[in-house]
């Protein structure tokens, strides 16, 4: 949405009001997560010392506090534990209501509280199978030297397995 009446903001990117995270190496040390996500992989970091697999990925193991981490793949399908369909007060940028949320249990890993896309109102039920859905979001115009480069970005949600 444009910002009527505030000409300085018209059409301009503002990082302080960006709903998506920065994904370039200059702005996050877990940029590998997003590079993997672009290939359809859901990944996180595993601690080579204690074996812990925290999510989201880290640069410091929250269990043994070492930084000996490696990237591991997580399942890209899971099961609906519970869900709800939000009708009002949806933040800008999340489309028309309803905004569907679900608790998705990834087998052997964690239960994620995620957005459900490509799903009709009333379609979802507890116990349904879901799969990872990766989609492009607005790129970031980032200064690299004297150039402004469009940094490609992605986000994930889950969608019904049909």
């Amino acid at each position: 949405m444009s910002n009527p009446g505030i000409s300085i903001l018209e059409g301009k990117y503002m990082v302080t009001m960006d709903q998506y995270p920065q994904q370039s190496k200059e702005f996050t040390q877990v940029h590998q997560f997003y590079e993997n996500l672009q290939e359809g992989r859901l990944t996180t970091t595993r601690c080579r010392d204690c074996g812990m697999e925290p999510f989201p990925p880290r640069i410091l193991c929250p269990n043994c506090h070492q930084s000996n981490l490696e990237w591991v793949d997580w399942p890209t399908t899971g099961t609906v534990v519970e869900f709800t369909e939000e009708a009002m007060g949806i933040p800008l940028g999340f489309g028309e209501p309803p905004l569907i949320h679900a608790l998705v249990e990834l087998p052997g890993k964690k239960t994620l509280f995620t957005r459900i896309v490509n799903c009709r109102e009333g379609e979802l039920a507890c116990g349904d199978q879901l799969k990872l859905a990766v989609f492009a979001v607005d790129p970031v115009p980032q200064e690299i030297g004297r150039e402004v480069v469009q940094i490609k970005r992605v986000c994930y949600a889950f969608e019904p397995v049909r």
Binding site: P21, T28, P91, L92, F94
Partner: protein, 391 residues
């Protein structure tokens, strides 16, 4: 030597979708607070803590405490800073003021908190909430505003414990009725059980009546060491007996149980221990009813009733006036509204009045009071226990 610390005065602005700016509301709250303690010259306040969560987001203002000091006419010389813990900002500031006075690092500390949350266009108000959760990981999933998370908790609690829609609605009916007797509250009209049950759906099973509103406003209290307090006021002294603040996990994937709030149970154990009391000793409580389901789970995890019995406990009036532990006697968040940084201070103000014996809806002979805030999804819990006697 460690000092006993008292809460000796308080006041608040009118809360609601207000005309005015953030700094206007801080001035209104300060004025109401000064009027509660004519024996204090505000220039003798030596510490100021300002609680505000969204000042950078909705007022584009950092370095807030010196601005507020200038605007409310105080000249702190021992302490002047802002405290932020989203919905727990106000109580966090009270805890820190308490500790500074107890340690002898300040004598008379004003704690003021509030927000201007409404923006000229509504979308920006909602959009700003994406900053309130883990922005990089929960925000992109659309759970920046907490209603979907609490809707999920309500669904799980209903499934696991048989909690019903009527139980949720009973919380709103009680708190809206209490608010209708509080001239500073956002909502001045009560609602019936039927109205609450038939409210417009926001995110199932939560209707508009299950959610606290978006609120502008501020509140202020003054804390002082016991000896100084005796010189400043003739009103009965109210002491801070114990405090606690716990956080286990922030991002949604790391919250193992959405219907039992482990960090609240830890904070409660700590606060009760330091205050030398148990849950059965609490005469009046202000708990964080950001949603109806929140107050129900809080009754359980604060130890006022058995796990899973929260719905029935509130429905039977056990946390209403005349019940076991009257809760949110001034209207709570559901009735007063919720300008994040102001809420814990409003709660402290109401508990102070209850223990002094001058509350609008007075709980007879109240001697122990408690305030509770949650913040984030349910990441952090902040407790303050007040008493007519020192611990």
């Amino acid at each position: 030597m460690e000092r006993k610390v008292c809460i000796i005065a308080g006041g608040m602005s009118r809360w609601g979708a207000r005309e005015g700016s953030q700094r206007d509301f801080f001035q209104e709250a300060a004025k109401a607070c000064y009027e509660d303690i004519p024996g204090l010259n505000p220039k003798d306040i030596d510490g100021l803590l300002v609680a505000s969560a969204m000042t950078e987001r909705t007022s584009y203002q950092t370095h807030l405490a010196p601005l507020v000091a200038e605007n409310v006419g105080v000249q702190p010389k021992n302490l002047c800073a802002r405290v932020e813990l989203l919905c727990g900002s106000g109580s966090s500031a009270i805890i820190l003021a308490f500790a500074m006075i107890k340690a002898g690092q300040a004598d008379v500390v004003m704690v003021v908190g509030g927000e201007k949350l409404n923006t000229p266009q509504k979308w920006e108000t909602f959009y700003s909430q994406l900053a309130s959760v883990d922005h990089d990981w929960d925000g992109p999933q659309g759970i920046g505003l907490p209603p979907p998370a609490f809707a999920m908790m309500a669904k799980l609690h209903m499934k696991k414990y048989g909690t019903r829609k009527e139980h949720l609605a009973a919380v709103t009916v009680k708190n809206r009725r209490n608010a209708s007797r509080n001239p500073k509250a956002q909502f001045q009209t009560p609602v019936s059980l039927q109205e609450a049950l038939e409210g417009r759906m926001v995110v199932p099973p939560l209707t508009l009546y299950d959610c606290c509103p978006i609120t502008d406003g501020a509140a202020a209290v003054i804390l002082a060491g016991k000896e100084i307090a005796k010189d400043l006021t003739d009103k009965p002294l109210v002491y801070i007996r114990g405090t606690a603040q716990a956080s286990l996990s922030n991002m949604s994937a790391n919250i193992p149980n959405l219907t039992t709030w482990d960090s609240l149970r830890i904070a409660a154990k700590q606060a009760y221990g330091k205050a030398g009391i148990g849950p059965q000793d609490v005469d009046v409580a202000m708990t964080h009813d950001c949603f109806t389901i929140s107050e129900i789970i809080e009754m359980e995890d604060l130890g006022f009733c058995e796990k899973g019995e929260g719905g029935r406990f509130v429905f039977e009036g056990q946390n209403d006036l005349g019940g076991q532990v009257p809760t949110n006697t001034d209207g709570g968040l559901l009735g007063c509204g919720h300008p994040f940084g102001g809420t814990g201070i409003r709660q402290g103000l109401e508990v102070m009045k209850q223990l002094r014996g001058d509350a609008v809806q007075q709980v007879p002979d109240a001697s122990i009071g408690l305030t509770h805030n949650l913040s984030g999804l349910i990441a952090a819990h902040t407790l303050v226990v007040y008493g007519k006697e020192a611990a």
